[in-house]
């Protein structure tokens, strides 16, 4: 815990920081508040508290169908991305092979590339391979793009893993396969869960890639998007508020896990840095 510095401009900076915080939260606050407003969105100030929009939301079956679709796609994407992401992280951490640098860039590219590029290129692939657009193509897009997220998170987790533990396991007689299951995976548990949460959230919110790969069945974001094109209704405020609440819950759990994982790693109980192989 680093002590704060006195730099003399503190009050000005603090006010500015508060302003930035306000800017970041303002839209969300407005959204939540107006989801309870009888007169819908717009105008100021909001009057007439009501839960009507929420009850309308709960009766809306196509929204819930799309929620189900999103959940299915997210679940499948988690499995795919974590599996391939774990393998990719292990490969990047431990193997060397020709083209490794290219492989690393390729795996991480979807993270920084605008979604439209990934979405369009997979669309062309689907057309070329005669794949009909459906939730399967959406899953393909999400899963492939989110491998990069899993790889990044798991690679960081592997870096924190003390290599000596795996050596100790081999030294004590465990085969590499046993070592993987008994030592490597348990130590990655928290990274895996954190990555899973992140993938879930990103998949549930994914629009750009999904836009080009969607078939007849909508995911939640695209269902909302469709309605937005037709006009604003406060029902959308209601569903947005709910999404915000769930996201909040997820991120709190994620942080909880992250701080636990940092506390339980070897670096904290042995005060020494990992030895370098110099002698």
């Amino acid at each position: 815990m680093k002590a704060p510095l006195s730099t003399g401009r503190s009050s000005l900076l603090a006010i500015y920081a508060a302003f930035v915080f306000a800017f970041i939260y303002l839209p969300i606050v407005v959204l939540v508040v107006y989801s309870f407003n009888r007169d819908g969105v717009g105008g100021f100030p909001p009057r007439h508290f009501t839960l009507d929009w929420y009850s309308q939301l709960f009766a809306d079956s196509s929204i819930w169908d799309s929620v189900l679709n999103s959940l299915v796609v997210a679940g499948a994407s988690i499995v795919l991305a974590l599996t391939l992401g774990l393998l990719a992280a292990l490969a990047l951490d431990r193997a060397s092979f020709p083209g490794k640098a290219l492989f690393r860039r390729l795996v991480l590219l979807p993270l920084i590339l605008p979604g439209i590029i990934t979405g369009l290129s997979l669309l062309m692939f689907a057309k070329y391979a005669d794949l009909p657009l459906s939730l399967w193509t959406v899953f393909l897009g999400h899963g492939t793009a989110l491998i990069s997220v899993a790889t990044t998170e798991l690679f960081a987790g592997l870096q924190k893993l003390d290599r000596a533990q795996e050596e100790a396991s081999l030294d004590l007689g465990a085969t590499p396969w046993q070592t993987f299951w008994r030592i490597t995976l348990p130590n990655l548990k928290l990274s895996l869960i954190a990555a899973g949460l992140l993938i879930f959230t990103l998949s549930m919110d994914e629009i750009a890639v999904t836009f080009f790969l969607i078939g007849r069945d909508n995911t939640l974001p695209l269902e909302i998007w469709g309605r937005l094109r037709r006009g604003i209704t406060p029902e959308i405020n209601a569903v947005s508020t709910l999404i915000f609440a769930v996201s909040l819950g997820l991120i709190v759990s994620w942080y909880h896990l992250r701080s636990r994982s940092l506390g339980a790693q070897p670096g904290s109980y042995s005060n020494n840095l990992r030895t370098r192989r110099t002698s």
Binding site: G42, L106, S121, P176, M204, I207
Partner: protein
Amino acid sequence: MYSRTYKSLVSIPPLLWVGVFLLLPYTLMFAHSLWAVRDGVMVHQWNWDNYKTLFSNPLYAEVLLRTMRIAGSVTVCSLLLGYPLAYYLAFQVGARKELQYQLVVVPLWVSYLVRGYAWKTILGSDGVLNGFLQYLHLTHEPVGFFLYSPFAVVLMLTHIYTPFVFLPIYAALEHIPRPLIEASQDLGASSWQTFWRVILPLSMPGLLAGATFAFVLSLGDFLAPLLVGGPSGTMIANVVQSLFGAAFDWPLGAAISVGILVITISLLFLSEFLEKQWAFK
């Protein structure tokens, strides 16, 4: 320590997947850009026409320039908001730093669509902002340019990307060893001088990373313009999107996409190169 079997087992599946579902599609996209559309049907005739169109037709240059201006504005505004916030949290907050950090990051996780929609409701003629201004009698009728303008796009995207820009800068600032700053003060530098001469240079890699992220993703964004941009706020990715939709010209759209891809990768390389130049151990 790891046998060849182990290494093959872990490398081959992701290599295969990435090769088939990333590399191949990008190659396909490039191939498409070299084809053409005749009489409403796509034909596999190899030609450079699409690229010629891009370079000769001023319409595309205009949109691209507008897009770059918007992306540039978003980047600058996000930095102006995100850097001071990161500085504040890294250096001037004591006990509740962790909590405030989480508060900054939470919106990152809240749906893009939700946040975009929120701005749409705030900025409209009947929206919250106009209502607020009229309530305070600052204006008497709705202000038009808030919504459906490049201004709205920049505003929305700045809102989205400020936390993204904040993260790497904060990490870089936290990484600066405190004794360096104390040494600077010890040698007589004022707070501003310490910031300018020590803190800012050492935070450059984080700043570059955040700025690149914001710029590249803003460049390729097509959702914000559709939500809040209106006709005057159209960006290059919207052009692509319509070429794959109603305007049906996949090859041309693919050519523009290849252009975006090239710009993105060049910026990434440039950013990496600069980061290496400015990384101090």
